[in-house]
């Protein structure tokens, strides 16, 4: 009987459920707590950001005399050039000037996204800012400044960058509040369950009749529950 001195480490699903149930308070509290912290963070601490965008069209002149291959490369280059132009320091500095922005060109560039497509001549200019009006104004201003610069300085693009839409008020971009809360709740839940299991692992007292019997191979004669004294017999002073 002494061979079974080591506690067998099998756990059944029922045991797992029992562990969770016994620690339900701990798990619920942690889940709600971390969820709450995440919500507070998302709703109160992180600044919301907004995104505005607008499109411009780059007119690519078709020269009937040249070959199609050359045209393709030319067109692509033109598109790329236009895109790069829009985010050039010289353009951005003008925007900063015009709008009296409290940003450096680098900061402005960080918030700016200029995307051009392989399949069309449209370029999308967008800006992310914590002010929804500002994002709109910046997009419009950037496009203005770029077109202005192109018209006055870049021959191949002169009059060829055409604004096709005006930016509207910024649309809410980040943070994704529901996502934060969900992640918070999940993390809390995981933490709670993790702690419950660790507690269980380290609990090294005897909890059940089966444990006791398995540990020593000695018969467990019985199991006696706790009880309460029913009447309070006060000791009478004689």
């Amino acid at each position: 009987m002494n061979e079974q001195l080591e506690q067998t480490n099998e756990i059944s699903l029922v045991d797992l459920f029992k562990i969770l149930r016994n620690n339900i308070v701990l798990i619920t509290v942690l889940t709600l707590l971390i969820g709450l912290i995440a919500a507070l963070y998302a709703f109160l601490i992180v600044d919301p950001t907004y995104k505005s965008n607008a499109y411009v069209l780059v007119q690519v002149q078709n020269d009937p005399s040249s070959s199609t291959d050359f045209d393709l490369i030319n067109a692509q280059r033109l598109l790329a050039t236009a895109a790069d132009l829009i985010s050039m320091p010289v353009v951005l500095e003008k925007v900063i000037d015009d709008l009296s922005l409290d940003l450096t060109p680098t900061q402005l560039k960080d918030g700016l996204t200029v995307t051009s497509s392989n399949t069309s001549y449209f370029i999308n200019v967008s800006f992310i800012s914590d002010d929804l009006i500002e994002s709109k104004e910046i997009v419009n201003a950037v496009i203005d400044a770029a077109i202005d610069f192109a018209d006055n300085n870049v021959a191949i693009l002169e009059d060829n960058i055409i604004r096709t839409s005006f930016a509207k008020d910024g649309v809410y971009e980040a943070p994704n509040k529901p996502l934060y809360v969900i992640i918070g709740l999940l993390l809390g839940g995981i933490l709670g369950v993790g702690i419950a299991f660790i507690k269980e692992m380290f609990n090294n007292t005897f909890r059940t009749k089966d444990q006791l019997e398995a540990a020593f191979g000695i018969q467990v004669l019985g199991v006696i529950p706790q009880f309460q004294v029913k009447e309070a017999k006060k000791h009478e002073a004689k």
Binding site: T208, G222, I224, Q226
Partner: protein
């Protein structure tokens, strides 16, 4: 059995040890009492040849609930018509006298040092329906007492007169008293309180007994908290079985 201090008790500051309260007597229909009955039945099976008359009770740590267990156990045995004598051999922290609400004088130590006659030593309790021997004035020469031939003879004497002689002893880990007493007993019932003693300690205690060739009749899991549903039978019970 020490009941857990409920919040209520903590506020009222009521102490928790009520040795003179026998739950099997006061709440005979409760689930607790039933559990005790089961232990007796199981012991009967193990004791079918009647070889185990002198039974020693010990545990891993102090205050696991030994004395309360034995007092209730002996009460039920008495109710079944068995002649029972309950002897307090925990000479360092005697508790038996509290079960019977008497002062701890004129007991075993006095008898062994010749100051007391045997007829005055063994007392009877009508309330509990059994005989008992309290430890008497505390002595520092505990080991001498436990090894005394006079004690050995006394136990033999009791064995002839009673169906069961139940011995309360100190926990195994603290002192070696339990091992000395084991030489006087036919077998040991080892008590384990739920959630109190670490497994390693319990193992150490039981191994110590086994190394000394002590016959362990069985173990009992006591002070089980029913609310966590973890007492191993697999279904929930409230301790209020019937009022």
């Amino acid at each position: 059995m020490k009941r857990n201090k409920t919040i209520n008790e903590l506020f009222n500051g009521e102490p928790i040890e009520r040795y003179d309260y026998l739950v099997t007597k006061e709440q005979p229909l409760s689930y607790v009492s039933e559990s005790f009955q089961k232990v007796i039945i199981n012991l009967d099976y193990a004791n079918i040849d009647g070889n185990f008359k002198v039974i020693q009770f010990t545990s891993t740590l102090a205050s696991e609930g030994k004395t309360t267990f034995i007092s209730n156990f002996s009460y039920l045995l008495g109710q079944k018509g068995k002649k029972v004598c309950f002897v307090d051999l925990d000479l360092r922290k005697p508790k038996l006298h509290r079960v019977f609400n008497v002062t701890n004088r004129q007991g075993l130590n006095d008898y062994l040092s010749g100051k007391l006659e045997i007829k005055d030593l063994v007392r009877h309790s009508d309330e509990v329906g059994i005989d008992y021997i309290i430890s008497g004035e505390k002595t520092s020469a505990v080991v001498n007492v436990l090894e005394a031939k006079k004690l050995h003879d006394l136990i033999q004497n009791l064995k002839e007169k009673y169906d069961y002689v139940l011995l309360d002893t100190p926990p195994v880990i603290a002192v070696s008293d339990a091992l000395y007493v084991a030489k006087l007993a036919d077998g040991v019932i080892f008590l384990v309180a739920q959630n109190i003693a670490r497994k390693t300690l319990v193992k150490e205690a039981i191994q110590t007994l086994q190394n000394n060739k002590v016959k362990i009749l069985g173990t009992v899991l006591i002070q089980v908290n029913l609310k966590t549903g973890e007492y191993g039978y697999g279904y929930d019970y409230s301790y209020k079985y019937e009022e």
